[in-house]
Assembly symmetry: C2
Homo-oligomer: 351 residues x 2
């Protein structure tokens, strides 16, 4: 992710919330206590970009954390929401590891095996644990926003942002899964929409806006920020697609070309489909799961289709929109500067 | 379930909330609109017992719905919470039907197949849709409680009840799945705890208490009500176990002896395990999935173990506690009368 200045008070708010989950779960017996511990572990490894974005936006709009300490629990809510999505996403994808260590499902499969369950039983318990873990995280995210000590109008605005984040991300996730399992289903626009919905709102637009609401920003500034946040999120996701296809193993956090191995229907692939060399790309993608040489051939076929160049152009146009918005007179100078830093950060990740 | 007087304003509040989900989902495209429709359908077939219980408790405590119209959206929240649990429970159990018609997962598997997905892809899309549907329902339940127009103290009490309902039910569900997949894992007490946690709090204790909070009941009355609600919920669940093993197909809403076919670790089976004839019961249960004759033999073996008689005794003791509490001087007469009616209703379901 993009690096923002760390704020120990953001970490403290997240940790306080995770401590509540752990303590609450332990009162309900050792089995459920283990789930609380797993939830906390699942929420601890990340870069905490979304809460940092809430705090950075709040600060750039001139918010004073001593006057509005609720900025920290609200920031924490976005981390817990992210963790909820990740945990449920892993169930959908049948993943049992994240960052090389067992995730909630993986851990509970192992618990079940140790206690003598058969393989099918272990899968059932792993999935159950992960579904329930995501439910608890979603519930806690909502609690943090509901209990924010801000005036009722601001609280309703924050709840509306959370509502947007939940609905739009769910729509993006459903579209993403549909595009993956239904061959030839989606148009180029559908795939771009899914990419936007899955990440842009909950990772960029809503956290930026939450900071603005907490700092008391006016409607005009929030409107400009909302559009810029959406564009940033889209550009981020498109860069992620380039990384998934062409990034180094270090940058992708997994084997290089992972998206190609998994035949993901990304905007990059949608662009390739519009080129005259699509049959060749399609053939190369069909065998990309077989090994590193086949991945390399799929990368070459994609490059020859011109899709990466077109995608870079789309990213560049989207970031231009962010930079133009950043100079809008409705925004304080510090907010414009934050948006430009974020655009630079997204651009800097292009592989 | 037990029948309570119908209240069209409860139905109107549930329908308004489902309409919001449908409308909100449709703005995010036809695919997600279909999910909104499926969520609404999943929430429409039930008997709406929990919201009726909120309204009945509120009325018995002398609450005036014209002064506190929030009783209806809060009541609706308990129906949506129930629907969220049912939808996620179905994913965990790999069920694709409910009441004989496709559930959310079943419907989206069919969508996927019609659009050309293979069998594995259809399962992935079905599970994804059902996980997301449960997330939306949980989110809406929380919204309904958060937006209740009541004083801040009452709102915090309602949010605490919802928090209990979410945590305790999740603990019950996890324990239930663990007991099902891990052989010889659970003690008799563990299995009783799981039965209590899975249903008693969110179906009885919390709805009764929510009605009391909304009607402005005092702490002492709420304390008595809480204990009685827990006992009612436990008795209800134990009767459900008898129905699952011995009830008619009509009463169980599925083939008779369904719990025996599925080798469920219910409190009934836990009691049988303590009898000297357990080896015979165990043998009969092991083949109960093979057909109606084997189910009948398992029923006979269970009867001979004495477990059903002991379970009936436990149910009777638990309902006695409810009836004793119903005469506590801290409770208004109408609340006592409601509790006795509920106890009679639970007793009347014993097969």
């Amino acid at each position: 992710m993009i690096t923002l200045p760390p704020d120990p008070r953001v970490d403290a708010a997240i940790d306080a919330s995770l401590d509540r989950i752990v303590t609450r779960a332990r009162t309900l017996g050792p089995g459920f206590g283990a789930l609380g511990d797993a939830v906390a572990r699942a929420s601890r490894g990340g870069k905490r970009f979304r809460p940092a974005l809430v705090a950075a936006s709040f600060g750039a709009f001139g918010g004073d954390p001593d006057a509005t300490p609720s900025v920290y629990p609200v920031a924490a809510a976005f981390e817990l929401l992210h963790a909820a999505f990740v945990v449920h996403d892993d169930v959908i994808d049948h993943d049992t590891e994240r960052r090389g260590i067992p995730n909630v499902a993986g851990e509970f499969r192992e618990h079940a095996r140790v206690q003598g369950a058969d393989a099918a039983g272990a899968v059932v318990l792993g999935d159950a644990a992960a579904i329930l873990a995501g439910d608890l995280l979603l519930h806690e995210a909502f609690r943090l926003v509901s209990f924010a000590e801000v005036d009722p109008v601001a609280r309703e605005q924050l709840q509306a942002l959370l509502d947007d984040a939940v609905y739009v991300s769910a729509a993006g996730e459903l579209a993403d899964v549909t595009n993956a399992v239904v061959p030839e289903h989606a148009s180029h626009d559908d795939i771009l929409d899914a990419a936007f919905n899955k990440t842009a709102v909950y990772s960029f637009q809503a956290p930026l806006q939450a900071g603005a609401v907490l700092a008391g920003a006016g409607d005009e500034a929030r409107g400009v920020l909302s559009a810029a946040g959406g564009s940033l999120g889209l550009a981020f996701q498109l860069v992620d697609d380039l990384i998934g296809a062409f990034g180094s193993a270090e940058q992708a956090g997994r084997e290089s070309g992972g998206d190609l191995r998994e035949s993901k229907r990304t905007p990059l692939v949608a662009l390739a489909r519009e080129s005259s060399s699509w049959p060749k790309v399609n053939e190369a993608l069909a065998v990309a799961h077989t090994g590193p040489i086949a991945v390399r051939e799929a990368q070459v076929a994609l490059l020859e289709s011109g899709a990466p160049v077109r995608l870079r152009g789309l990213i560049s146009d989207t970031l231009d929109q962010v930079r133009t918005a950043s100079r809008d007179s409705a925004l304080p100078a510090a907010v414009g500067s934050l948006l430009r830093d974020l655009a630079d950060g997204v651009e800097g990740r292009i592989p």
